[in-house]
């Protein structure tokens, strides 16, 4: 027993020692004579495969460059990038959320790609997507007053939401077409909010909405709400448009009673409710088209209903940025240029059913294969980029808090917006 004990202790220690100190570091692959670019991306499995394909196309055209693609989980990218910069192990190119560039620009963490001709390139790109990468000199140079525009990244993917509606429910309610404006929307939504099994409880709702700011941009943008003053120093959310817009959101739930309450903490989310035929209309994006189709719902996609400012939507997606310590910035830019080229975009969007970022690629998109994408391409033309604040997450946070209390009617619409303006001015704009 005693011997066994010491023997096992010894074995454990020995094996731990070999595991820890025996095997050395992994061997870095060598690409003789090539300029190696390290790129961190956060694509899904499916996207990753197509991306690798595009990279190899690029490498065939540029034989002196090797792009070393590495995958990072989306949810860990910001943390990974932050820590890697501190220890100077950051990649050359990184795929970041559209909310990230302002902070990266102002802290001089990513390089200005204007000298490589990026402004020229940007003219062909979807403006709402590329605008998240364009900054005026006064934004990033302290004391400067110049409005000279500089570009710091290239959008690799752009998305926005549109109105998804359940065709079957529309047919049952005798509705032919999706709503074109918010007035029609309310009328239709009322018809779709019904008690299907007659137990006195409503079990099918005309509409379901999310609470977060990003998901509410379609409302704000169609109502013509302006978030910030031109100098970016003041929040303008106490305007009449903003009040009307928020009041409308509140009314959908409380007055018209067509909204399912999906914005409340812990309720059935819009996607889940739509798949399970509980919600007749939701906002959603291209990423859900396949999922919804596979689940066998008969659905259509329409433009966001028109408000005072016409139809519009939000902008999401990601940008590729070149980090400050990149060894071959020019080659990095060449790759980004290729990534948004018509050839690459054609491949990417047709295989994945996504919205192209290059306007020139629009005509090459095979809409017979992905008819849904047509609506999104149309919708993106009127999309409005989110307010360019340094700490977008905090803006989301403040808005989510204040808007929630308006939607629960704990605060009046006026009070909620007033408080939001005050907090945004204090915590975000003049921080």
């Amino acid at each position: 027993m005693k011997n066994f004990f010491y023997l096992s202790l010894f074995t454990i220690h020995y094996s731990l020692f070999t595991v820890f100190f025996g095997c050395g570091k992994i061997q870095k692959q060598k690409y003789e004579g090539k300029k190696v670019i390290t790129l961190w991306e956060t694509y899904s499995n499916e996207e990753h495969q197509v991306f690798l394909d595009i990279v190899s196309d690029f490498e065939k055209l540029n034989t002196e460059i090797k792009v070393n693609v590495q995958r990072v989980p989306f949810s860990g990218m910001r943390m990974k990038l932050m820590t890697s910069m501190i220890t100077h192990t950051a990649p050359d190119i990184a795929r970041v959320d559209v909310a990230d560039p302002p902070r990266l620009v102002i802290s001089k963490s990513i390089i200005d790609i204007t000298p490589f001709g990026a402004i020229e390139l940007a003219r062909n790109l979807v403006s709402a997507a590329v605008n998240s990468n364009i900054f005026e000199e006064k934004f990033f140079i302290p004391g400067s007053t110049s409005s000279q525009k500089h570009i710091f990244g290239i959008p690799d993917q752009t998305t926005g939401v549109a109105l998804f509606y359940n065709r079957e429910m529309f047919r049952r309610a005798g509705i032919k077409n999706p709503p074109e404006n918010w007035d029609q929307f309310v009328v239709i939504a009322k018809k779709l909010t019904v008690d299907t099994n007659g137990d006195g409880k409503i079990d099918q709702f005309g509409f379901a909405m999310d609470n977060s700011l990003w998901w509410s941009f379609p409302f704000y943008n169609t109502f013509g709400v302006k978030f910030l003053s031109d100098d970016g120093k003041n929040c303008l959310l106490n305007s009449d448009e903003a009040k009307k817009c928020l009041q409308f959101q509140v009314d959908l739930y409380h007055k018209y009673k067509v909204e399912a309450g999906a914005w409340q903490a812990g309720s059935v989310s819009c996607d889940q409710g739509f798949i399970n035929k509980k919600y007749a209309m939701i906002f959603s994006g291209p990423w859900n088209v396949k999922k919804f189709k596979d689940s066998g719902i008969d659905f259509g996609i329409a433009l966001i209903p028109k408000g005072k400012a016409g139809t519009s939507t939000n902008v999401g997606g990601t940008d590729m940025v070149v980090l400050r310590e990149a060894k071959h910035p020019k080659e990095c830019y060449e790759f980004l240029e290729y990534l948004v080229s018509v050839d690459a975009q054609k491949k990417w969007c047709n295989l994945l059913g996504q919205i192209p970022v290059n306007l020139k690629a629009y005509s090459y998109i095979d809409t017979s294969k992905n008819p849904e994408i047509k609506v999104f391409m149309e919708q993106m033309k009127t999309a409005i980029a989110r307010p360019p604040v340094i700490d977008y997450d905090q803006l989301e946070y403040v808005m989510n808090q204040e808007i929630y209390t308006a939607r629960t009617r704990e605060k009046t619409v006026e009070k909620a917006l007033e408080d939001a303006v005050k907090r945004i001015n204090e915590e975000i704009l003049n921080y």
């Binding site: 005693k2 004990f5 010491y6 454990i12 731990l16 595991v19 820890f20 100190f21 570091k25 992994i26 961190w40 956060t42 694509y43 899904s44 499995n45 990753h48 495969q49 690798l52 070393n68 590495q70 995958r71 990072v72 989980p73 989306f74 949810s75 860990g76 943390m79 990974k80 820590t83 501190i86 220890t87 192990t89 959320d97 998305t159 996607d271 889940q272 798949i275 399970n276 994006g285 990423w287 859900n288 396949k290 999922k291 919804f292 596979d294 689940s295 066998g296 999401g316 990601t318």
Partner: protein, 282 residues
């Protein structure tokens, strides 16, 4: 006679109710497991659809997890096993040693050291992430098992747990062993370890679990092309910006919990063994 029978019926009904109650409770707390399996056998994108449809073939997701060449699940799996096992063994051993002296020895600086250690436990671990990463980088331990394991081996929680338990071991046992001429190491190896094997197993299990699910640290100390990436990082790859690959993720999670279940079942034996040796006490 009838009274005895009546008593028996009462006992029977009592235990029946108890069984029923415990079974309902067990099904309830195990519900997440059933859901994981339910989702894992669904076709892609159908995780939240309540309509019952299954992937064809049923095991498609389970198989594709292991077969995807761009997703080295077996690597993640092996790495996780190595990291969690070595972390668990080292932590348990070191904490048992530390807990023993805190429980049974009187030495200079004991109280102040113990309270210092205990108070550091109040600082959320998140705060240590970046400085620890800086240390690991300085040591050039990026992409190594030791970089993933060693910083978390010094578990104050473990020392505290071990101390609480070893305190219940009668000092008389140690004294008599000393009189018999046992060395300090022998006392530790032959009295303390066997008597606290139940709690050591618990600590091992908890530490194993901690390492098994330590996403942030494993993400940070490995470069994305590292061959040492673990399951939590692998699972996170299924989580995209707007959508999530629930079916594959749950299929992978089903595999990920197997080692823990096995270890728990083995550990159960230890609990009982440790408890029977408890009969030695008093």
């Amino acid at each position: 006679m009838s009274q005895v029978q009546g008593q028996k019926t009462v006992v029977f009904v009592k235990s029946l109710i108890l069984y029923l109650f415990m079974s309902v409770g067990a099904v309830f707390v195990l519900f997440p497991f059933f859901w994981m399996i339910f989702v894992a056998v669904k076709p892609e994108g159908q995780a939240f659809s309540l309509t019952v449809s299954f992937a064809k073939p049923l095991w498609k997701n389970f198989i594709s997890i292991w077969c995807d060449p761009s997703y080295p699940f077996w690597r993640f799996f092996i790495n996780s096993v190595i990291v969690a096992t070595s972390g668990g063994i080292l932590t348990t051993l070191f904490c048992a040693m530390g807990g023993y002296v805190f429980a049974k020895k009187d030495f200079y600086g004991k109280n102040i050291l113990f309270w210092f250690l205990l108070s550091t436990m109040m600082i959320p671990g998140m705060m240590f992430l970046v400085p620890q990463f800086a240390i690991i980088t300085k040591l050039d331990w990026i992409n190594t098992y030791r970089g993933m394991v060693l910083p978390h081996v010094a578990s104050v929680f473990g020392i505290f747990l071990m101390r609480q338990y070893i305190e219940t071991v009668p000092t008389s046992l140690i004294e008599s062993a000393k009189i018999d001429g046992a060395s300090e190491l022998q006392i530790f190896g032959k009295i303390i370890i066997p008597l606290s094997s139940a709690v050591m197993t618990t600590l091992f299990l908890l530490t194993f679990l901690f390492h098994w699910s330590n996403f942030l640290w494993h993400l940070v100390v490995n470069t994305p092309d590292s061959s040492k990436l673990t399951i939590p990082v692998g699972l996170a790859l299924f989580r995209g910006q707007y959508q999530m690959d629930w079916e594959k993720m749950m299929a992978a999670s089903c595999f990920a919990i197997i080692p823990i279940v096995i270890i728990f079942l083995i550990a159960q034996k230890f609990f009982i063994e440790g408890l029977t040796t408890g009969a030695v006490k008093e």
